[in-house]
């Protein structure tokens, strides 16, 4: 039977892994992720979850053990943050290049130095080009639902790629919220047992991931790109089917709010999307036509949806909890790149906010919206990248 529990997003991620009937969990602690793997350890030791729990000696080994487990034919899950994710970097490439449907919770945290354990998307966005699908969640329910959806997506034969389910440290990871956990039989019905494209099998003795010459390498990369395009088609369908079955739907690739008649759309990721909705409500009361578009899936990037959105608005303001040093926030870059070569473009302004866990409230976003509206009326942006609330 479905039940509602009140718990932190990290514990909920543990419930998600359990509900997905994950079979191998290599685990290594790092703040603010740790309580995910603690929760799973508790499930496994109490016999509530039938999984092998490997207490690995590093995040690098955690990811490689996931690769080994998925290659040997079982569903694998792990979780990490910041420096742990950075340490996994080369293994992330190996997982996607091996086309293994691993799912990992990434509890977003800033990269040091100095040590900073608070939310920031620099960790997962630095892994942009590793061939992983990236989901960003706005609340605890979405964390649970996205883990289930991610396995459904990744194990689709048109995809066979790994996915990160990203959630911001503390804002979600350690915050209690009510979450509906569907009936296990219904989840099993939605998410069949593990499916992958290949398996280590003594009766089919292939060498996997051996040397690939320039004659073949490019085609393998192209296949990953095709899989990403397939994922882009499948994510909205899976989200819709999930919504029909369990009552929660997130708009597929982008969660749009009050965008239909908007002049200005605020583009965010993660919990800033929830705050942006409050800003939109407040500004709408003042008669300002503002909407919010929360990018839920960053890879594959929803280029076509952004293009559609751009056709109906005068201005887009991106808010990045991240900076690509020497350029701008990734959302700003991706959105401008999505729109180039198309006529009649809206203005795009990029805002950097909330780095290293600085609060981004609906009031912060209101300031961003008002500045954007001013630039919109003036017909040009004053600064291509504006750092919000920067101390002098």
């Amino acid at each position: 039977m479905a039940k509602v529990i009140i718990d932190t997003a990290n514990h909920i991620a543990g419930y998600g892994a359990k509900a997905a009937r994950v079979q191998v969990v290599p685990a290594y602690p790092i703040t603010p992720q740790t309580t995910i793997v603690e929760k799973i350890a508790e499930f496994v030791e109490k016999g509530e979850m039938d999984a092998e729990y490997i207490r690995v000696e590093s995040e690098h080994s955690a990811m490689v053990a996931c690769i080994g487990a998925a290659a040997a034919g079982v569903r694998a899950f792990t979780a990490t943050s910041a420096h742990g994710l950075a340490l996994m970097h080369e293994a992330l490439h190996w997982a996607s290049g091996s086309r293994l449907p691993i799912v990992m919770a990434v509890v977003n945290r800033a990269m040091g130095p100095g040590w900073n354990i608070w939310p920031d998307f620099s960790d997962s966005l630095s892994q942009r080009d590793t061939g992983w699908i990236q989901f960003y969640c706005a609340d605890n329910q979405e964390v649970f639902d996205t883990i289930i959806q991610a396995y459904k997506l990744c194990e689709n034969e048109e995809v066979f790629l790994p996915a990160m389910v990203c959630l911001e440290g503390f804002i979600l990871s350690h915050t209690y919220m009510p979450v509906k956990i569907p009936d296990q039989r219904e989840i099993d019905d939605f998410l069949p047992p593990y499916n992958s494209g290949w398996i280590l099998d003594v009766d089919r003795p292939y060498s996997h991931a051996n040397l690939v010459s320039p004659d073949f390498y490019m085609e393998f990369r192209y296949m990953i790109q095709e899989a990403m395009e397939s994922a882009k088609q499948l994510i909205p369908r899976i989200d819709k089917e999930y919504g029909e079955r369990f009552g929660f739907e997130y708009g597929g690739l982008i969660e749009k709010y009050q965008c239909e008649d908007a002049d200005l759309v605020l583009v965010t990721m993660g919990t800033m999307g929830s705050e942006a909705k409050i800003t939109v409500d407040n500004l709408r009361r003042d008669g300002l036509k503002v909407g919010s578009a929360r990018v839920r899936v960053y890879r594959p990037f929803p280029r076509e949806e952004i293009q559609k959105l751009a056709e109906q608005v005068q201005m887009i303001a991106t808010i990045d909890r991240h900076i690509s040093f020497g350029m701008e926030g990734f959302l700003a870059t991706e959105i401008q790149a999505s729109l180039y070569n198309r006529g009649d473009l809206p203005l795009v302004a990029g805002f950097i906010a909330g780095l290293g866990g600085r609060d981004v409230t609906f009031k912060t976003i209101e300031k961003i919206a008002k500045k954007s509206l001013k630039w919109m009326r003036e017909g040009g942006v004053e600064k291509i990248t504006e750092w919000v609330d920067l101390k002098e």
């Binding site: 079979q23 191998v24 000696e57 590093s58 080994s61 053990a65 060498s207």
Partner: protein, 300 residues
Amino acid sequence: MVTIKELPQEEYLLKGHAACAGCGPSIALRLLFKALGKNVILVVPACCTSIIQGPYPYTSIGVPLQNILFESTAAAASGIVAALQQKKLEGVTVVGWAGDGGTVDIGIQALSGAAERETDFIYICYDNEAYGNTGMQRSGATPYGAWTTTTPTGKRERKKNMPFIMAAHRIPYVATACPSYPIDFVNKLKKAKEIRGTKYIHILAPCPTGWRYTTEKTVELGKLAVQTGLWALYEIEYGKFKLNSPSDRLVDKAKRKPVKEYLALQGRFRNLTEEDIAKIQKWVDEDWERYRKLASNYLL
């Protein structure tokens, strides 16, 4: 204990593999399959075997092989072992097969972790005493005095004692081997297969390309390494140290050939002085004093 006549005819290291002529590790790889048969999942990091197996879409290996990142052989094996346990699939042996750089240097963390977790697999280090696949750079397993491309005048430090490091993990089985003694190696593998937990076998595998000797001398050099006592064949079973034949007959220094006989055959030791050779001889003799004590019922 098998004899050479009892070795199976089946080959799982197939013809046409890409090893150098006279490659010591490839002899050991062939024997590995003779000992363990086809129900093996082989995990291979970046190493000479990345090349030996051949490029996509070919393979020279007749068992499923997972290539994996340089430092992570034992971590990948951990994941595979866990998956097999979860699937309750028995009768498949997971084998990590890595070079010395991938074992004693970059891979030591993952290996140490897997051993401490009592992961049920066999880990084999095939040691040619340098980073062979990248063209012979110094590793932690390179011996004192040896030329490598990063120690052009000879290495100044001693070789890391990896089997003893693994024994310090209190794993049930540690052994040394050399492809010049095939039956010893095969029997050790067969024994390791029957033991639950982490089994570590360290093979000294002569490498004509890197050691600078002519390709027909690989077996001879392996034998000389053992006969001079530079490489001892032993097992540490549940902490108990035991010398194996022919090393068990070499405790008496008079029975051991001088190390110079081994060193002189290799171009990589060309720059050694008489003092260097004397130093190496002294270290070998000290090692054997230690082996003698360990072999007399001393628990490691």
